[in-house]
């Protein structure tokens, strides 16, 4: 009798599920919304002057655990926009087929010169097609929606506040919802907004204590 009861309950459960809305969608027709922090591909955006921000410092190439980034630094020359001398990069290639989307390259970039985008690349037939060249990375910067995170903002948000601020201790909610489609990575603004979030450090935290011997502050 017990078994009959168990079975009927199980049957009832599956039948009830059958009349609930499904949890899947037919993919190409319907696309589930992704979180605003969703990161999947890369772009090389401009700086505030409308030039490519990358200066070819190779930080990202060195940090990449999968070693999929190849940067060819260019020579220093005067910027046509500002007239100041700055470094450029000649070529920038990311092999997406081996990339693990860990976002390390974005986090170490002090210039916000490499960012991730929220829209995935199209499926490819050849592995070689997944190698994002310079042109495609540049094009992604204008064509695709940028992900939430970028270097300086993430760096700032990770740093404990240096100075106690009087700002109310709310989570940095407004700052995080910076419009992702913003073409220019306005450097200073989100940092300022993110700052109050860290305004109240926990009392136990040795925020500015001397770093342990093993750690070498840069």
């Amino acid at each position: 009798m017990g078994h009959i009861n168990d079975t009927l309950r199980a049957l009832w459960t599956t039948l009830r599920t059958a009349f609930r809305p499904t949890s899947t969608v037919q993919f190409p027709a319907v696309v589930r919304p992704r979180g605003e922090r969703y990161r999947v591909s890369f772009a090389l955006p401009d700086d505030e002057n409308g030039e490519m921000a990358c200066i070819g410092c190779l930080t990202c190439e060195r940090i990449c655990p999968s070693q999929v980034i190849k940067v060819k630094p260019g020579v220093k020359r005067e910027s046509p926009v500002t007239g100041k001398k700055r470094a450029y990069t000649d070529d920038f290639v990311i092999d997406l087929s081996a990339c693990i989307q860990c976002e390390l390259c974005v986090q170490v970039c002090n210039n916000d010169a490499i960012v991730m985008v929220r829209e995935a690349e199209q499926p490819m037939f050849e592995r070689e097609d997944l190698v994002l060249g310079f042109a495609r990375l540049r094009k992604n910067a204008t064509d695709r929606t940028r992900s939430w995170g970028y270097g300086t903002m993430l760096q700032e948000s990770q740093e404990p506040a240096k100075v106690e601020k009087k700002a109310p201790a709310v989570k940095a909610a407004p700052a995080k919802t910076e419009p992702v489609a913003a073409a220019e990575p306005a450097k200073t603004e989100p940092v300022a907004a993110a700052e109050p979030a860290k305004a109240e450090p926990a009392k136990t935290e040795p925020a500015q204590e001397p770093a342990p011997a093993a750690v070498e502050p840069t």
Binding site: D6, A10, T13, T14, C102, E209, V215
Partner: protein, 403 residues
Amino acid sequence: MEMTEATLTMQSARRGRVDPHRSMRAYDADADLMLLHFGPQHPSTHGVFRMDLHLDGEIIVKATPYVGYLHRAVEKLCERLTYVQQTPVVDKNDYVSPMTNEQALTMAFEKLLGVEVPRRARWMRTLFAELQRIASHLLWLGTFALDLGGALGGGSTLFLHCFRERELILDLFEEVTGARFHYNTHLIGGNRHDLPAGFAPKVHAALAIIESRLAEYEVLSLDNGIFKMRSRGVGVLDGELALELGVTGPNLRASGVDHDLRRDAPYGAYDELAVNVVTAQGGDCFARTQVRFGELRESIRLARAAIDGMPEGPICGHKPIRQPGQAKATGGQVYVGIETPRGELGTFVVGGGDTPTCPYRLKIRPPSLHALSALPYILPGATVSDAVAILGSLDPIMGEADR
């Protein structure tokens, strides 16, 4: 009434211990045992695991597990990568709970480098770990049902139901980290991504759904007569043997051993959040299921407590260690063990060597490998069908066992 070696083995299997190292020649005198390669390309070996089963009819006389089909030299790779580069690499070890891999590795590095972690970061890590435990146990329940019920049957129904709820957790992780697998959210000294605004209600909503669905899972598994018949008394692992073999986690607790690192050696926020350790008696597949169901409920409670009590503050203690040159260790060795969904995930790091920015040696102690080491002891005497159930109930993740 002659007693062959085979029958003797089976008897001893019932009485207590099996000697898994006994030569097959001792059994195979009459050459009527069949050697069946079970895996690596088999639907129920949870990846690429292989057991060589010596069968007398359908009954297993001797089982020899083979690991290494998914060996990716992670430990060696970690010796070549700098400390800061390794978090995304270990994500792939236990590919069912990447979050805890990162946590274990980062905690070991922090201990080696002597870095303090702020309270908020510790609470966040605890929240992530508990959410990850829920996701991992859900996936385990689904795959275990798949082992018992098949991909073309009720097993896959429970499997997909569990996936439906696991998805909610992954959505939460995506909300925080932007990724669904390679989170890379642990940073030496803290966390990389702060919780977004309005995260707590989302966590509560997801947990409420999962909690309400647990009853449905129970109807389809624990409460079901067929499930009971398939799991009760199958694959009995006694607590003593489990301890000898180094089996940890739910598999150990199902054998009645009350051991949980979260309570016994607290880390993260567990010193502030009291963990109720779930144990069960019997050590069979049924007990292992009971423990995991209990842990699902407990983790839901802990995750709620963690999000409710989430302290404010910085997510990274001092200047975050981001660049390779920032983290250098000239010597020293540490071991850090944490309680992942599968048991004690230990990370042993030796600093120093030629390049101070890389570990000299990194050793990962995966709970899955130790769980698999119980197989030769508990498989003899079971049938081929039981073998699938037993293997599934141990919750092995080959990425972690082989590394």
